[in-house]
């Protein structure tokens, strides 16, 4: 195929954020009318690539983007739209109180002359595009709020199609819709393809990609692993390409004596979300918690930590029943919670590093509420040293740190309370590989000192390599606890995905790593 048939070409695209190289020299191309899947683990650089293509990020100097053979540069999202690249994000970007038709024409107001709204024109356009997509059951006059998530997605796609897109980027379009809606989406994608539109499709779900993609590009740790024809590879090959590293180097070995029970949870229920979870975690043990996104692992932990009401069940700490009603009480029982979303719940981005480290230390009783900052700064320095937090000075503003260093600070603030139980929710999300290993090392050290650890992770290799046992959840229910000798990615995944009723043990499954990549 001659190069001018590529509708999109990327040449040597790199992107560096302060402290992290998100993309290194990635080159790929997309043909007209092709469905091109983009695959990779968390932090592989897929989102960064999509954001560059949609104009939210600018690539580092030296890279080139060509559309129909002509170099382009996007300074802002509207430049990408002008070059007929349309992005459909995970979170929908519709105005919920406007009608379907209004949403579809919202980004095309330049095409309408005059001053007044033209509702009837809008409807004609909306009708035409919806029926072209085979979605006649959606009434253009309804407000978007009244539609199902899947229908809203159709509207989003309709919006993209009417703007005469040459390239449609779909960032995990099926993450929030049902199986049957996914099938409809696949039909729509085939429809787009038939009309010569190139679709770049990001998904964790290998079986979806298998069914729809022509070619697949795999990224790992910000680098291009390769582009392959879908017909030439198996799911196993793709997993190999995605994970393809020596796991031994990433996950440090640890050999910890597991002691008596520290935390025991019996039939924990929290409203409609968490439905009867029971487990024990021992001194020095790391209990992994697995499940798909939406399996309410975080909600379960939040209930434990007093962030959610507990409606039923009992929690025992060292054989004594406790009732944490808010984080403060949980902390009094020396339970720590390193949360999933650092920016939202783990850190105060506008404060300096040393103040973040001392969020809990500052709460110790003191005369007239006076804080001895000199002493607190020394504490911060000590943590900086032992955890190897890389900052130029501890007065540095938190928001400017890389993910790995932020995570270390988010952890450091708990340590002076010598927690008995530490809850880690996705401790390595958005962290580069080197820092990941350090975090595992720290977790191992904490366990060695007798701390009981709970760790939620969506990365199966991480879960299996780090955890001593794995509790698997599905939609708020507990699906079972996997012992060390049973641990395979396939088995954990089958527990996490298969329907509650018919669960054959150790069944091979499709869509491995559904949530892990």
């Amino acid at each position: 195929m001659s190069p001018d048939e590529y509708v999109l070409e990327l040449r040597n695209i790199s992107k560096t954020f302060p402290g992290v190289v998100a993309l290194k020299n990635v080159s790929m191309n997309v043909k007209k009318g092709e469905v091109h899947a983009l695959l990779g683990e968390n932090g592989a650089g897929k989102s960064t690539l999509i954001k560059i293509l949609s104009g939210y990020h600018q690539p580092d100097k030296g890279g080139e983007i060509l559309i129909n053979g002509k170099p382009v540069s996007f300074k802002e999202p509207r430049d990408a739209i002008k070059s007929s690249i349309v992005t459909i994000y995970q979170e929908l970007t519709l105005c919920p109180d406007m009608t379907v038709a209004e949403n579809i024409v919202l980004d095309k107001q330049n095409e309408f002359k005059g001053f007044l709204l033209r509702q009837s024109d809008y409807q004609v356009i909306a009708d035409r595009v919806l029926s072209a997509l085979g979605q006649n059951e959606i009434d253009p006059n309804r407000s978007v709020r009244s539609l199902s998530i899947a229908q809203q997605q159709v509207v989003e796609i309709a919006k993209a199609v009417t703007s005469k897109a040459q390239i449609v980027l779909m960032d995990e379009p099926t993450s929030s819709i049902s199986e049957s809606d996914t099938k409809k989406l696949m039909d729509i994608i085939r429809n787009l393809k038939a009309n010569g539109v190139a679709v770049i499709y990001i998904s964790h779900r290998l079986h979806e990609i298998n069914g729809i993609a022509d070619r697949i590009t795999v990224l790992r740790d910000g680098e291009l692993v390769g582009t392959v024809n879908n017909a030439d590879v198996t799911e196993q090959d793709l997993i190999q390409m995605m994970v393809g590293r020596e796991l031994k180097n990433v996950y440090p070995k640890r050999d910890v004596q597991i002691g008596e029970t520290v935390l025991k949870v019996e039939n924990l229920v929290s409203g409609e979300l968490v439905k009867g979870i029971s487990f024990e975690v021992h001194k020095g043990e790391i209990l992994g918690i697995g499940g798909l996104v939406g399996s309410r692992r975080t909600e379960m932990l939040e209930a434990l930590f007093g962030l959610r009401p507990i409606t039923e069940g009992k929690i025992y700490l060292n054989n004594e029943e406790i009732h944490p009603r808010n984080p403060r009480e949980a902390i009094k029982h020396r339970i720590a919670f390193v949360t999933e979303d650092r920016k939202k719940t783990g850190l105060v981005a506008c404060l300096p590093v040393y103040e973040n480290i001392n969020m809990l230390n500052a709460q110790r009783p003191s005369f007239a509420g006076y804080l001895n900052w000199q002493q607190l700064k020394e504490i911060a320095q000590r943590h900086r040293k032992t955890l190897d937090i890389r900052v130029s000075k501890i007065e540095q503003i938190m928001g400017s740190l890389s993910g790995g260093n932020q995570q270390k600070v988010a952890l450091a603030k708990w340590l002076d309370f010598s927690p008995q139980v530490i809850i880690f929710d996705e401790p390595t999300r958005g962290i580069d590989i080197g820092a990941k290993t350090e975090i595992y090392q720290i977790m191992g050290d904490l366990a060695a000192r007798g701390t009981a650890i709970l760790m939620v992770s969506s990365e199966l290799p991480e879960l299996i390599s780090v955890a001593d046992r794995i509790l698997v959840m599905q939609e708020g229910y507990m699906k079972g606890i996997v012992e060390k000798e049973q641990m395979t990615q396939e088995y954990v995944m089958s527990l996490a995905t298969q329907k509650m009723q018919n669960l054959p043990a150790n069944s091979p499954m499709k869509g491995l790593m559904t949530d892990a990549c």
């Binding site: 949980a330 902390i331 919670f337 719940t345 506008c350 969020m359 007239a368």
Partner: protein, 326 residues
């Protein structure tokens, strides 16, 4: 050759950095220089003291407002609380109904209660502080007007005007200036050196992260709004003393002037970032503007027009500062 081309833009950026970092100071100094050139009497010590005196009651509520805004909140009701303070104090001491000291204590408790109510409604009712204090601003003002049927109530007790209003320490420094500077020092200490100040900054910076870290958000908020009432109490006393009476419409511009001063001082309206020094500088900018323009013969309506422009300019500099930080 290389060194030269490299160093020039670098030194320029450090200069710009300093300029932006100390923007409040820079604006203040430029402003004072301009006024001094146009009207040399501006720089006269007596005039400077007059500026500080007119600034005092704005600065005092501004100090409380710094806590509130850093916390991510807003208190529009301080001017009305100040009016309630003046009016109730005047009514209590009128005709020797209540002796001065107990009257002061009653009014003190009342003002803190009004501040506490702001916080309580906002925290328990989960209502934006902007809306709550917009409402209480009217309610408290209505209270002051109702109590007095809209008429000023003279305060005729010995020493009151001297202590809080027109007296001078060593016959030089006006007492309101002394009071406001002492409060500034205390506020600076509380803001930077105590748990409370730290929690205010951390809650304003990230409320959810502070909750997870076990900080008692509601308590801190209630305390901050109660304190804002306390600052309004002192400000209200000064206003009453300057006029020698409780005026039901005293402090009408107080809240907005104080908020302007705080914002000019670089405190972020979204919370998390603020300094007491900035608030001092910001309030001085407003007071200098008022004074300087009066000296130039500008009328009130021109004054507020210029004040508005200066605020926009300062916020633009603020944004430049933030984009540089990134």
């Amino acid at each position: 050759m290389h060194a030269k081309t490299d160093s020039t833009p670098k030194s320029r950026t450090t200069f710009m950095k300093l300029l932006i970092r100390y923007r409040t100071m820079v604006i203040l100094i430029v402003l004072m220089a301009v006024f001094s050139l146009l009207r040399p009497v501006f720089i006269n010590p007596a005039n400077l003291l007059a500026i500080l005196k007119n600034m005092s009651y704005v600065l005092i509520v501004g100090l409380g407002m710094t806590f509130i805004i850093t916390l991510g909140g807003l208190d529009l009701s301080v001017g009305s609380i100040a009016a309630v303070v003046g009016v109730t104090f005047a009514l209590l001491v009128r005709g020797g109904l209540v002796p001065a000291i107990p009257a002061l204590l009653i009014v003190l408790v009342l003002s803190m209660l009004l501040g506490f109510l702001n916080g309580f409604i906002s925290v328990k009712g989960k209502i934006e502080p902007f809306l709550v204090t917009l409402a209480t601003m009217n309610i408290y003002r209505g209270l002051a007007l109702t109590l007095t049927s809209g008429k000023p109530v003279p305060i005729v007790i010995p020493h009151f005007a001297d202590i809080f209003g027109n007296g001078r320490l060593f016959n030089v420094i006006p007492t309101p200036v002394i009071i406001s500077l002492i409060l500034f020092a205390i506020s600076w200490f509380v803001f930077t050196q105590t748990k409370f100040g730290f929690f205010v900054r951390s809650i304003g910076g990230n409320q959810e992260a502070s909750r997870v870290a076990g900080i008692e958000i509601s308590k801190v908020k209630l305390a901050a709004y109660t304190m804002s009432g306390l600052y309004a109490f002192i400000s209200g006393l000064i206003l009453a003393a300057l006029m020698n009476s409780g005026l039901p419409d005293a402090g009408k511009d107080l809240a907005l002037d104080a908020i302007s001063g705080v914002i000019l001082g670089g405190t972020a309206l979204l919370g998390g970032v603020g300094t007491m020094w900035g608030t001092l500088g910001g309030c001085m900018i407003i007071a200098s503007l008022n004074n300087g323009m009066s000296l130039l013969g500008a009328q009130y309506h021109v004054q507020i027009l210029v004040k508005g422009l200066v605020i926009i300019f300062a916020v633009l500099m603020d944004n430049a500062f933030k984009s540089r930080q990134r």
